[in-house]
Symmetry: C2
């Protein structure tokens, strides 16, 4: 297994991707191709005390870097020698099994969609992070790849999320819930109401384990394994969780810093605090899978350090080994709406 | 000041509303009219050791109760002698200054809209809870009164939320943010994109302090005083926060229950834990204001205990005293889109 890593993507590049890759090679016995400015990568290796490129690591030079100011939709075309474009072309041509980048989400999504392409029959790729919940985590799909959804997109997200939860989280017959503001099928906007009908039908036919609408509170508490949402709502859900974790984390810190007694208390529950921080730390998961793309692509958090990058590479290995893409390809006929003349697959959902 | 209280609404009725009302009369010097089954209300008073109806409290008998199984849209018409209908009619006819209920949200909203009516020119009433944030709380408007929004609804929510933040939270020139998935005006669905334009224009004209899009994470961290959202998204935001609070609260409890050392730690930060719980407790705020209705209406949480009901009554007093409804009425012309023939105010937003 060989993972292609964008050495120039993210706030801490090239240090974090290069060091994360070195750790992953050691820890998981995987091979890594680092893509980016050769001299910058070698410089990081030298600072790590390595005068030669170590076994399991190879470097592919790419002289350009996609910056945050570049137009995400066109960056990969305008910068053909960027680590993003070169890396994804390696993936496309089979010179690696998965691609990991901590660079711009929009640019990665556009480039993956247009270079590597979607799985045939999939209308939209989706971002599918694993979010911490009371049930040991759930797959949220989509969290922002496409702001505006259609019922058919949501149906496909449900299938793709199911395969991900089954293969990567090890949940047999994962429970799929539609993120909504109440339990009844009539709840939500017309998008949720129409998606509910499609999901219910798929559930009745035994093709997906649809358990109905799930309210945000119950989703956080762990009611389902897969949370289906349009990109806008999924992003609100994800970012609210992140914000609440940061906000409450700070309040807890304040609680422990109040006085001598509270500082002593902090010492007594040191391990507990460490585990609590770990629970809320995006770096533990590593990154977010782009589901629906024809080959495995992982978006690591922009602020990833080497530990987070190592975990994102581990996640890429799991994704590539899982057989999810094969599952989606084999079953895509079940995920499509019957094609209606002149209206299929439009932004109005054809429902 | 006289507050009308639905004595039959909520999971803990009639105990919680009656006891909360007694406490509010004592603590805030306010008068309360309890509406509901006379014998049930008197029974609670007797259990509280009161053989007579105490000073400041009056009872208006209403023989019916709106139940969760009633159709929310029509319950107030079908049960004309319900505490909901009788209470709102008292409010309408001026026999009280505000109405508080812990009963069904949908039924309360429909009844308030159709009996008490909206402020002239306001397209939709909205639920405007104060949510805990790193900035000491923010007004979220809407959190679920209307699932599907239009740009004009969101413009009006921004104004109404501003008045609420200014008068009730004491924030001069409150910062208004549009809940979105990125900072740029092009982010989000067409609803957010169109609402952004209206809000930007209102901001440029100095009519509202619009600071742009606000991501969910920054909203929780306290970036703005007013979070503007359609009812669906606002509900996802609110319920995700509630869920995260419950989930993390449980994890913290686990941390303190681990062993003897951690239990000792819990004793040392007892006050801190109490304050932390208070921060996340919906009962501290009491209830959610229905803004846009011609008279003050407060929805208390369905699971309110007497303490939460007392706080909801306090909130009703603040709402009634604030002059928000007068402010909205006086300025409603600024909140309306120019009427276009045949398209104004439709569900498509006329934008």
């Amino acid at each position: 297994m060989r993972i292609i890593v964008d050495a120039m993507g993210g706030d801490n590049a090239p240090e974090a991707p290069v060091k994360g890759a070195l750790q992953a090679v050691k820890e998981y016995g995987v091979e890594v191709t680092l893509v980016g400015r050769g001299e910058d990568i070698l410089e990081v290796l030298r600072r790590e005390g390595l005068d030669e490129v170590p076994a399991g690591v190879s470097i592919t030079h790419a002289g350009q870097v996609v910056e945050m100011c570049d137009n995400p939709a066109t960056a990969f075309k305008e910068k053909k020698d960027s680590s993003l474009t070169v890396g994804l072309n390696l993936l496309k041509s089979g010179e690696g099994d998965a691609f990991v980048s901590a660079g711009s989400t929009g640019a990665l999504l556009a480039a993956a969609t247009l270079l590597v392409k979607r799985i045939r029959g999939i209308r939209r790729a989706a971002m599918a992070p694993v979010v911490p919940t009371g049930g040991g985590g759930a797959v949220l799909v989509d969290c922002g790849a496409t702001a505006e959804g259609t019922p058919e997109f949501l149906l496909q997200f449900a299938f793709m999320g199911s395969y991900y939860a089954e293969h990567v989280l090890g949940r047999p017959e994962p429970k799929v819930g539609l993120l909504n503001i109440g339990a009844e099928p009539s709840k939500g906007t017309s998008l949720q109401q129409e998606a509910y009908k499609l999901l219910q039908k798929a559930g009745e036919e035994g093709r997906v384990n649809f358990v109905g609408n799930v309210e945000a509170r119950e989703a956080v508490e762990g009611a389902v394994d897969v949370i289906v949402a349009d990109g806008y709502s999924g992003n609100i859900f994800l970012k609210t969780m992140e914000g609440a974790g940061l906000f409450l984390g700070r309040e807890i810190k304040k609680m422990f810093l109040r006085n001598v007694r509270s500082k002593l208390a902090a010492l007594l529950v040191k391990d507990g605090i460490r585990d609590f921080k770990k629970l809320m730390d995006a770096g533990e998961v590593g990154g977010t899978a782009l589901v629906g793309i024809a080959k495995p692509v992982i978006k690591a958090h922009g602020s990833s350090n080497d530990y987070a990058m190592k975990n994102a590479i581990r996640q890429a290995v799991e994704f590539a080994r899982s057989g999810i893409i094969e599952d989606i390809s084999d079953n895509v006929e079940h995920m499509r709406l019957p094609v209606k003349p002149a209206s299929a697959g439009t932004e109005n959902g054809g429902a």
